[in-house]
């Protein structure tokens, strides 16, 4: 295997810019490894002909001033890609080929990137282990019996296994940060509204946000810069000037105040995670940051709140998959209602059905006030917790997950314990804030663990800087041994 594809995105971009490697050569290196890595099941669709053709076009007329010159990239299969299957990990969209391109992926192609393939994910992004995908579970390259996390599990697995130099995922309750933590990679969930949702298969509209998944913080800043931007096709998109995250990246975090929320020390959390958290604090302290204990009192309500709001929106968002216009349609049934029932019974998996049922229930008349409305109120309180503390601190440091990668099948029959895996990531989505997970160390098993930095609204640059400084001083090294080849 070539050493080149082990490199970070920024290093690869340098090689292309220095003309030390051509886009086509690079594409072939990835294609070769992707072809040999089917065991991981991280790709749902590949489009190698397209990749090669586009890379040849790039090499003929290379625009080296773009952010991602001639870089092949695979993306989560939740982003609609014009002319290429977009499945959302569901039987419902098994053969769905959009005739449009999501704004975020379009932004990447405009910066010179080339589509390499579509990456596995939990069905409609509902899951924390990538085991709910209709296309089978994904394996974490760190160990063959572990999950890569979810829902952007295919993205994390492919990235950690060098099957794409960088990637993008979506994060509704932790779907970027948790798999990043499980695979020893960097994952950032931007401020709600920073990246357009147009053309992304919707799960929960008020929480969904696309973001980069990369091998380094610098890569993360490059990817974010490429994908973010105002989009008038998304009414919740934030109108603001584009930022040069990569250019403005710096390691000087002297004087920054870092909050440590006491509510994130949860019951039954492994000691290793507490130790890692302490390690994180001391690294940042050594870099001149001030560590401040804070309280986010409504944290304990975040998970139940999330599991009302997200399913409620999902139950409505997924109503369009009814077999009438596109996607899967059952051949059984004697009338419209039976066709709906059979289509949706056969087309959706269990986890999706579970969430549609929960969502339908909490919006029902008689239950709306007790569940949905109350959840919305609690959501405001959670947001207020953060707002109040951001007067005192510049960023908040927490563990990314309450455990390292768990075993395949370990939690599939226990949805609650699965949901608990998102306990540290969910509050951020409810508050619409940006947060990044950076690898911080390995546990006894040698599995990676990440720390999460939460920032103020639109303060991506700041958490990128803190993460960058942390990364430089943490000496984390992912140990992936290509056992599947």
């Amino acid at each position: 295997m070539s050493e080149i594809i082990k490199k970070n995105l920024s290093e690869i971009i340098d090689l292309i810019k220095k003309k030390e490697i051509k886009s086509e050569e690079l594409a072939n290196l990835y294609i070769d490894k992707v072809s040999k890595s089917k065991k991981l099941n991280s790709y749902i669709t590949t489009c190698f002909e397209h990749t090669i053709q586009k890379s040849k076009e790039f090499d003929k007329k290379p625009n080296l001033n773009s952010l991602l010159p001639g870089v092949p990239l695979a993306v989560k299969d939740l982003f609609c890609t014009n002319g290429f299957k977009t499945t959302a990990g569901s039987k419902m969209l098994e053969n769905f080929i959009p005739q449009y391109e999501s704004t975020v992926t379009e932004n990447l192609w405009k910066e010179g990137a080339i589509l390499l393939g579509k990456l596995n994910c939990d069905e409609y992004a509902m899951g924390s282990s990538n085991e709910t995908s209709y296309f089978g579970n994904v394996i974490n390259p760190i160990a063959k019996d572990t999950v890569p996390g979810g829902s952007s599990g295919g993205s994390a697995s492919a990235l950690a296994a060098d099957l794409t130099p960088a990637t993008i995922g979506t994060d509704t309750g932790g779907s970027i940060r948790q798999p990043a933590s499980f695979t020893g990679t960097v994952g950032l969930k931007p401020t709600y509204g920073l990246c357009s949702r147009w053309g992304i298969v919707a799960f929960a509209s008020s929480l969904d946000q696309a973001g980069p998944m990369t091998k380094s913080v610098k890569d993360c800043s490059i990817m974010l810069e490429a994908m973010a931007g105002f989009d008038n096709k998304d009414s919740t998109s934030i109108e603001k000037k584009k930022e040069n995250y990569s250019k403005n990246l710096k390691t000087d975090i002297k004087g920054l105040k870092i909050g440590i929320p006491k509510e994130y020390r949860v019951e039954n959390m492994p000691n290793e995670i507490d130790e890692l958290w302490n390690k994180g604090k001391s690294i940042l302290k050594d870099l001149g940051a001030e560590i401040i204990d804070i309280s986010l009192p409504h944290t304990k309500y975040a998970l139940p709140t999330y599991y009302i709001v997200a399913p409620a929106e999902a139950s409505s968002n997924l109503a369009r998959y009814d077999g009438v216009k596109y996607g899967y349609r059952s051949s059984k049934g004697n009338d419209l209602i039976e066709m709906y029932e059979n289509t949706r019974s056969e087309g959706f998996g269990d986890e999706v059905k579970r969430r549609i049922l929960i969502g339908t229930y909490v919006l029902s008349s008689g239950y709306y006030d007790a569940y949905y409305l109350k959840a919305q109120k609690v959501r405001q309180l959670i947001k207020k917790d953060f707002d109040e503390n951001f007067g005192k601190v510049d960023a908040i440091l927490t563990p990314s997950t309450p455990s390292s990668a768990f075993k395949i099948g370990e939690k599939t029959n226990d949805p609650i314990s699965m949901y608990l895996n998102d306990i540290f990531t969910v509050p951020v989505n409810l508050a619409g804030l940006p947060a990044i997970s950076v690898p911080a160390g390995l546990d006894k098993k040698g599995y990676p663990l990440g720390l999460q930095l939460i920032g103020k609204t639109l303060d991506e640059q700041n958490i990128l800087n803190v993460a960058y400084a942390f990364e430089k001083n943490c000496n984390f090294k992912n140990e992936i041994k290509n056992w599947w080849l």
């Binding site: 977009t86 769905f96 053309g199 919740t236």
Partner: protein, 489 residues
């Protein structure tokens, strides 16, 4: 026809009942594109030719509000003397149907864009105020076509996502007549504003009709039934008539009225149950997370207010004071913006009162007969004014005017030209007329004698002879005067 006292009651066995009606009118917003997408909204286009990825609910598609639709709703709200809400919310109304691609309709539930307002009706028994409860914006659904194929249903999504204004009245209407007046008034106001074309044949205006009855004198409302989606005034009236009588019969029999949704069968002229309250959909309304709450700056409302045209109520008042019309005439002439415009053009150039009489008489009869609108009238306002002036000045008689009118319809010509070329000018020169009359009197000496000896009925005979001799052009008034004078002598 006109009654000066309200008397729409239904006689039951024991009680006399009053009918309580409230309407939810669905008015299609006049706009070039749909409420949340850029698709066109033209009526009668090829099926599924005006459908975007948003209208057909493809994965990842997001709604973006069409500002023009917001402006139209605000204009309409202002036209209904209603409160415009600076903050409103779009909600999702969830239900499954083949012509509802998203599986939900984007509507406004708890916080509509327009709040309370009122509409004034001119009834024969006086002016009546009808309260408006609210106006909200929502998406129309597509159309399911069940009769194209015996085994399949076809779906046309051209209408899917078109903006509708749902205008909810208070339960202030009391008779089919009032419903007729209310719908027409709403339509007039919206046509003046250009916010809805009001074309009921094309489905631009339809209504859900809520009907209940109560014994006259009762303060509480009875249980209501909602008749869904009635698309003509006539059908609304028939449905109300049927439904009110049905409810009274039930009450007479000592039965209870069940709150339910009913359908009006236009062929059988009856309403029948569609679903009971228990079977009512649970729409699971919640704020659409794809859309931010709608904030309307007061400045926008103020700016739109400045651009509003003169509305029918104000115009009517002005017509009465400026043109000396009575309430009935003014009402008719402001009923459509185009009619009022035509009238004002005519009135500017001719006698205002006579113009009104002729417009409402011969002109409207002719248009009605030919199935034309005032805007494609074969007689221009300018020509019509000349005709009125010719009558007023005595140049032609009323009878001749009718002939000129017919010729104007046929040729589109200027009345002056017609009168000239056909020599239809009234003979109003007393000397000339006296000459003609003298000749006739000389010719009919015996009749003159008879007249003088008391057979005064013969006066009409002499007038007839004069008219015959003059080819109908003799000025009737002058003829009378001269005849009387000469016969006396």
């Amino acid at each position: 026809m006109s009654k000066d006292k309200f008397d729409y009651f239904i006689k039951g066995e024991k009680n006399k009942y009053e009918v309580i009606i409230g309407l939810e009118v669905h008015a299609q917003v006049s706009s070039n594109s749909k409420l949340f997408s850029g698709s066109a909204t033209k009526f009668g286009a090829e099926p599924n030719s005006q459908v975007s990825l948003i209208d057909s609910a493809f994965p990842g598609m997001l709604p973006v509000i069409n500002k023009e639709c917001i402006n139209q709703a605000i204009r309409t709200g202002l036209g209904l003397n209603a409160k415009i809400n600076n903050n409103s919310v779009f909600d999702r109304k969830n239900y499954f149907y083949a012509d509802l691609p998203q599986g939900y309709q984007i509507s406004q539930y708890k916080n509509p864009i327009v709040g309370e307002g009122k509409v004034l009706l001119d009834m024969p028994y006086g002016s009546k105020e009808v309260g408006i409860e609210r106006l909200h914006l929502e998406q129309d659904a597509g159309k399911s076509i069940h009769d194209m194929d015996p085994s399949s249903t076809y779906v046309d999504l051209n209408r899917s996502g078109i903006a509708l204004m749902e205008i909810v009245s208070k339960p202030d209407l009391r008779s089919p007549e009032e419903v007729n007046a209310y719908i027409k008034k709403l339509r007039t106001i919206m046509r003046y504003l250009g916010t809805c074309d009001g074309n009921m044949q094309e489905g631009s205006l339809r209504a859900d009709v809520n009907v209940s009855v109560r014994p006259v004198g009762d303060k509480n409302f009875g249980t209501r039934c909602e008749i869904k989606n009635v698309n003509s005034i006539k059908f609304m009236q028939m449905a109300i008539e049927y439904e009110a009588n049905r409810q009274v019969e039930l009450l007479d029999e000592g039965k209870k009225i069940e709150q339910e949704t009913r359908l009006f069968d236009t062929k059988k002229n009856e309403t029948r149950s569609m679903r009971s309250k228990e079977d009512a959909h649970d729409y699971r309304y919640f704020p659409d997370p794809d859309l931010l709450p709608l904030k309307i700056e007061q400045k926008l409302i103020d700016d739109l207010k400045k651009t509003l045209p003169e509305l029918p109520d104000n115009k009517k008042e002005r017509f009465m004071s400026d043109y000396g019309l009575n309430s009935y005439e003014a009402n008719v002439l402001v009923s459509e913006k185009e009619i009022s415009k035509y009238y004002e053009e005519v009135a500017k150039l001719s006698d205002k009162k006579l113009a009104a009489t002729w417009m409402m008489g011969d002109l409207f009869a002719m248009l009605n007969d030919k199935g034309l609108n005032i805007s494609n009238s074969p007689i221009s306002a300018k020509n019509f004014a000349e005709l009125v002036q010719s009558i007023k000045s005595g140049e032609i008689s009323g009878r001749i005017a009718k002939e000129v009118f017919e010729l104007m319809v046929e040729s589109g010509d200027n009345p002056k030209k017609i009168i000239e070329s056909k020599g239809m000018k009234q003979q109003s020169d007393p000397k000339e007329l006296e000459k003609v009359i003298n000749q006739i009197l000389t010719k009919n000496k015996d009749k003159v004698d008879q007249y003088k000896s008391g057979k005064e009925k013969l006066f009409g005979f002499f007038v007839g002879q004069v008219m015959k001799e003059s080819g109908g052009k003799a000025n009737p008034q002058l003829t009378n005067e001269i005849l009387k004078k000469l016969l006396k002598g």
